[in-house]
């Protein structure tokens, strides 16, 4: 079905590749911008090589929360096209990515430079260069003035976290601009996915962002199931959703503890560090691995649960909920914590929408978005998850939305364990249909995960696009730092807690 020029499909639906409308570059720009202005989100932009050399199809995936539809539109480009970014900041990161990977110039892009410093995926080299760019070797936005100073942090940080480089332009303690330069974690995942699926594919998905194993592997399986017309049995869907909510709960509890640590409130930090581990241990009861590895597989899940295990999980869940509640409510009732959280790193709803923030970070700025609610998939088609929002857009909101979501996850998991459907946990997947395109969205704990799979004549992946929520949200962190004290960076950073490897792929 087409509407407003877009091919419309549902989450987890596959269509013929030839059905996707291919229009002129100018029309493409106009329509995509119009669609986003009307309230859709930009979920993915990707480049698909064609049979003609140096000619590519530029695919756009927009998601329309109003109609629960996903819109697909493509245009053919050779060397350049008019950039969308000047009218639609949410496209900025995508256009930089496509330029780096495929040497396609978005004319008029205001800040065109590498985002990953990765080897080019086409023959001509990124930006037409013969050699790959050197990581970190780039011009950063700079301010001028006698009292202006620049602070450079990373790639190796002080904590046990992933690498990234941060450049602050400061006047005294005040940060006027932060530029974030990533790519240190680039492992070549999207390149390696082409030609699959093979024995490694599911393991790439499980380690795209290792703390979002269930989120990404569920999105991948959604795409595979769409491309092979596989139906997941209800019990499999239920166990997947339980795994996803356990992942959300564990990570949110860990984040709340780390936020407490960043403002020096040690009791909640200490308690939550342990409670997060207990939550991960519940996932390990399901599948043997604390991060949900080897649980989600195309067609369903690889692990079943029996009554004894359900009873054990329910009991552990009670323990975790009791401990988490006492630890986290203590933090939210402590005035010295609130004084540091409130008003720090504010992102307004208008800005959040413009730069395309998603997930709990966007919900903390009143943006009512949640894939589980808007584009329901799997078990969420049958069980409603209310969307948790908060209006203040500051570190407090980003912390509080997480706590609201943790509480919902507790009751959701409990409800599902009490009413587990009977029957099989997995159906066998057949071969993928050739020349199809599928879009699969899930709500990971950081927000919307978008996978787009396109198959070739043989039913292998011609292209596979992964968009981790961090890809949309890194610029939000940079924005949140504007006008803040540089000493608030750790707190703001943790309130976003974005993935480096999910971004770098």
């Amino acid at each position: 079905m087409t509407r407003d020029g877009f091919l419309r499909l549902r989450n987890g639906q596959a269509v013929d590749r030839s059905d996707a409308p291919v229009i002129s570059r100018e029309q493409f720009r106009e329509r995509v911008i119009g669609e986003l202005a009307a309230g859709s989100r930009l979920s993915a932009m990707m480049v698909v090589p064609t049979e003609k050399t140096d000619t590519y199809q530029l695919f756009t995936v927009v998601t329309d929360p109003g109609s629960c539809d996903i819109g697909l539109l493509a245009c053919e480009v050779r060397k350049s096209y008019p950039a969308l970014t000047p009218d639609c900041p949410a496209a900025s990161w995508f256009e930089r990515e496509m330029s780096e990977q495929w040497n396609i110039q978005p004319d008029g892009h205001p800040w065109l430079k590498p985002i990953r410093f990765q080897p080019s995926r086409c023959t001509t080299g990124a930006y037409g260069a013969a050699i790959r760019p050197v990581i970190g070797l780039t011009d950063f936005f700079q301010m001028d003035g006698d009292e202006i100073h620049e602070v450079a942090v990373g790639p190796v940080h002080a904590g046990v976290i992933e690498p990234g480089h941060f450049r602050f332009q400061c006047h005294g303690e005040t940060v006027h601009h932060l530029e974030i330069s990533l790519g240190y974690q680039h492992r070549g995942v999207e390149r390696a996915l082409v030609g699959g699926p093979n024995a490694r594919t599911i393991h790439y998905m499980e380690t795209l962002a290792g703390d979002t194993t269930v989120g990404h592997s569920s999105a991948y399986c959604g795409a595979i199931e769409a491309l092979s017309d596989t139906h997941v049995p209800p019990r499999g869907e239920a166990i997947r959703a339980i795994g996803a909510e356990l992942e959300r709960m564990a990570n949110h509890i860990g984040d709340l503890g780390a936020l407490a640590g960043d403002v020096g409130f040690l009791p909640t930090m200490s308690y939550c560090g342990r409670i997060r581990g207990d939550a991960l241990n519940i996932t390990a009861m399901l599948c043997g691995n604390r991060f949900g590895r080897n649980l989600v597989r195309p067609g369903g899940v690889a692990r079943n649960v029996d009554e004894e295990l359900v009873a054990k999980i329910l009991q552990r869940l009670d323990d975790v909920e009791r401990d988490a509640t006492s630890a986290i409510e203590l933090m939210f009732d402590t005035p010295s914590v609130l004084a540091r959280f409130e008003g720090t790193g504010v992102v307004s709803e208008e800005i959040a929408r413009q730069i395309g923030l998603i997930g709990p970070v966007a919900r903390a700025s009143s943006v009512n978005c949640d894939v589980r609610h808007e584009f329901p998939y799997g078990l969420y088609r049958f069980t409603q998850m209310p969307v948790c929002t908060w209006p203040s857009g500051d570190c407090f909101a980003r912390a509080y939305v997480r706590w609201l979501e943790v509480r919902q996850s507790f009751s959701f998991i409990r409800e599902q364990l009490h009413s587990l459907p009977s029957g099989a946990t997995r159906h066998e997947c057949k071969n993928l249909h050739p020349n199809r395109i599928a879009v699969s969205l899930t709500e990971g704990w950081r927000g919307e995960i978008c996978h787009v799979a396109i198959t070739d004549d043989e039913g292998c992946f011609a292209q596979y696009k992964v968009v981790d929520p961090s890809f949309h949200n890194w610029f939000g962190l940079a924005y949140a730092l504007r006008g803040q004290q540089i000493s608030d960076f750790p707190l703001c950073n943790k309130s976003f807690n974005l993935s480096y490897c999910g971004h770098d792929l």
Binding site: P119, I161, Y184, S270
Partner: protein, 253 residues
């Protein structure tokens, strides 16, 4: 104040007594050291070899199987694929070794591999400061390393601590396959650690490249850039496996 004391009481004392007390509980479905049975293996079948996502299983010249724990993701696909029960995963969590080749499991009965490093044990057994470097890690090995600093595991009681600067460290704990984009930063961090120093590789990626082995964007693990003194396999290794590896490395268990 009263609220905080009350919460403290509710949260109880949680630090485990391991290694002096009982071993922490492992999940029932935990996949530990793989066990190969030469007697059960049929020569004409190679299902385990063909299904392994990282090529961790090979046939030796004498026809028997070997499994490289340094490449193994502990995904149990081989166990399911083998119709003869020649590959299975035990619940043995002591996996760390001091030598790369000791990570290779064969069907022959073998003693538990040695993880102890005599010079390191002499120097660092009561105080080991580590700088963690993630060089393409997915944040799972990182998370299960840093969980050791929480109050349940509390590695501080062994004098082990993660420090903020390589200048303050006795060694590096490396995760990830070492991406090309992190190679120089890792080398510089290593060079910044004062001698004598040690290096610990945690997880399949840091040992061999793991899932990303042979990608041109990475270097098949830490050994390509720095010498490694302790290998802790897994994807990711369980915190107990990491802690056990550190303690045996230092000669404390």
């Amino acid at each position: 104040m009263f609220r905080q004391l009350r919460t403290r009481l509710l949260q109880k004392h949680r630090t485990m007594s391991y290694p002096n007390g009982p071993t922490p509980e492992l999940p029932p479905r935990f996949a530990g050291r793989p066990v190969l049975s030469t007697a059960a293996c049929q020569d004409d079948c190679s299902r385990c070899i063909s299904t392994c996502p990282t090529g961790a299983i090979r046939r030796r010249d004498d026809g028997s199987l070997q499994l490289d724990m340094g490449l193994c993701l502990f995904c149990r696909v081989c166990e399911k694929a083998c119709p003869h029960g020649a590959v299975c995963f035990s619940r043995e969590y002591q996996l760390a070794t001091a030598m790369r080749e000791d990570l290779i499991v064969t069907g022959d009965a073998a003693d538990a591999a040695n993880a102890k490093n005599e010079p390191a044990a002499r120097l660092f057994s009561r105080s080991l400061k580590l700088r963690q470097v993630s060089a393409g890690g997915c944040n799972a090995c990182e998370a299960d390393s840093s969980v050791l600093t929480t109050l349940a595991w509390d590695i501080g009681r062994f004098g082990i601590q993660f420090v903020a600067s390589p200048r303050h460290a006795d060694g590096l704990l490396i995760t990830g396959p070492v991406t090309e984009n992190m190679r120089l930063a890792l080398k510089k961090t290593y060079d910044a650690v004062p001698d004598p120093k040690i290096v610990i590789a945690v997880g399949a990626c840091a040992i061999s490249g793991g899932t990303y082995a042979d990608h041109p964007e990475q270097h098949n693990g830490a050994m390509a850039v720095v010498p490694v003194d302790l290998f802790i396999p897994g994807c990711p290794p369980h915190p107990l496996t990491i802690l056990d590896g550190l303690l045996r490395f230092l000669g404390r268990v």
